[in-house]
Amino acid sequence: MRRIDFHLLGPLIALIALIIIGALLNPAFLAPANLSNVLARSAFIGLIAVGMTFVITQGGLDLSVGSMAAFIAGITIMAMNALVPITGVNWGTIIIGMMVAMAGGLAAGLFNGALITRARIEPFIVTLGTMGIYRSLVTWLSDGGTLSLDSGLRTLYRPVYFSGIGWITWPIITFAIVAILGEWMMRHTRFGRHVEAIGSNDRVARYSAVDVEGVRLASYVLLGGLVGLATILYVPRLGSASGSTGVLWELEAIAAVIIGGTMLKGGTGRVWGTVVGVLILSMIDNILNLADLVSPYLNGAIQGVIIVLAVVLQREKRATDNR
């Protein structure tokens, strides 16, 4: 049992170390306003990373999530703008927009999943392909520029990102709920169990009457849905979408999952580890802004070093425990 403890605590220790460093660098780090900012920002990658945890745990991968988010944000904005003359500037329009985003996410996830499970193409290739497709489409829809939400709707919609219960804003609340639900699903439902079994050995799962293709597909659809949800929270933040929206989110989401202790080859998923991973990644950015440590050119280097260190911290423990 002690083995499991250390292993589990790895990313958490890294996160705590980061928080301490942040607080030492600048006391404002721990102020609610800053924490609220950091947590709310984490929500997009966070939601996506929770879904990515399921996909990776079942042995898959999704490189398209960043472009998918941009594309869905684009069509959501276009849909809402198109609706304004008909339904007017009101919550009804926004709710339809939200439904478009969810439907778009689920459909995109279904598309990826169907190509992977039905046509049996490697997830890497399928999602590399759809990554290019969505990115191109959003650039094309925006004519190379930016798609902007109608400013009336924008004003109405803004509180979805910026308000909440005190400094606990809606993105934070959503992220928390999804993380808890995700952790619960992974641990305590048949779906989660099957996801782990498939990632661990898909033949065994098939022999045990697990609907391997169905579960795989469902994991991509789940991820798509969470991308849709992330978009619902993203659109009120910036009110726009362009070809540069969501660039590299996929890498960040995958990194968060792996930092959190889920193996890239699948088999064991740790949703709460993913949450810690996401927080680590967004705190690094925040901390780099807390003090002028180095040339901003070197931010990427520091980020890289911290990511590796965060994982060393947990792997070191594990390496000695394992044979």
Partner: protein, 298 residues
């Protein structure tokens, strides 16, 4: 805005990261100006953050407000729309705001606006093409990274050559990147036996384009107009290279002006407000010397 000299002030600077030559130059000038002003005015401190997309830039501005308690913000918006509300909330918090180069989508937020003129950048180049090519001559165009800014430039360019009878054979994205431009130009050369001139829209791309033309041995056939006045290119204009007759400025140093004015707002009593548009000039062999900065990385 009566500020006593010596009171500590923090100025935040948020700019896009150095993903291509022009932004690299802009980053360099920003950094340089900050170093210089930091020495001159010990009571001023600066926060510089660079962002690869709008979301990160908004986050940076939030961080500056929440943890660095900035008194002024100098921002080159990554994109207009998404940055408008965040910059507005900085302004509403009573900070001094300078917007650089790319306007916000709502008028009157900023105290000070310093910018190059993207439309003029395209128009000046287009004008040169219209003046120096005959009707029926053929050109190819390399566009930048798909963005609003690129659209503005290209539209102005097209407007300027309209009616001149110049045939635009092709327009592809070279992404303000030498390698991409090299590849695209190689393919243009393979595809079009006859090209009279190239608008590369950026000196990084022009570098790649020139290399591809040299490889094909078609140097005598066409000339190339880049943009933004990269030092190597300006040098060649000074030397009277027939392949590079002129260039169009788009000064990365505009960020220096913006930061300096933000600083002056605190250290001098002169009121700082208004709009400063730095027009795009045509660099010709005659005037090239004054656009040549050998120390800049760009």
């Amino acid at each position: 805005l009566a500020q006593t000299e010596g009171e500590a002030k923090t100025i935040g600077v948020a700019i896009p990261s150095a993903t291509h030559g022009f932004m690299g130059g802009l980053n360099w000038h920003a950094q340089n100006t900050i170093d210089r002003l930091g020495e001159t005015y010990p009571n001023l401190s600066f926060v510089l953050a660079t962002a690869g997309d709008s979301a990160k830039m908004v986050s940076d501005i939030e961080d500056m407000m929440a943890t660095r308690n900035i008194d002024a913000l100098v921002v080159l918006p990554f994109e207009s729309e998404p940055l408008t509300a965040p910059v507005k909330s900085v302004k509403d918090a009573g900070k001094f705001v300078v917007v650089v180069d790319r306007g916000l989508s709502e008028e009157g937020i900023e105290d000070l606006y310093v910018a190059g003129d993207n439309a003029a950048f395209g128009r000046v180049a287009g004008q040169y093409f219209a003046d120096n090519l005959e009707s029926g001559q053929k050109i190819v165009v390399l566009r930048g990274i798909p963005t609003t800014l690129d659209n503005e430039r290209v539209e102005a360019f097209q407007a300027a050559i309209e009616g001149s009878g110049i045939e635009v054979l092709d327009m592809q994205h070279g992404n303000w990147n030498r390698d991409d431009a090299f590849n695209v130009m190689q393919d243009y050369l393979a595809k079009y036996p006859e090209i009279d001139a190239v608008w590369a829209a950026d000196d990084d791309m022009a570098t790649g384009v020139l290399e591809a033309i040299a490889q094909a041995g078609r140097e005598d056939e066409m000339w190339v107009i880049g943009g933004a006045g990269m030092k190597e290119i300006v040098q060649r204009i000074m030397d009277g290279d027939p392949q590079l007759p002129v260039n169009v400025t788009y000064p990365p140093a505009q960020i220096s002006a913006a930061i300096e004015m933000a600083a002056l707002n605190f250290v001098s009593s002169a009121p700082m407000a208004g709009r400063y548009i730095i027009g795009s000039q045509l660099i010709t062999p005659e005037n090239a010397e004054q656009y040549y900065f050998p120390d800049s990385p760009f």
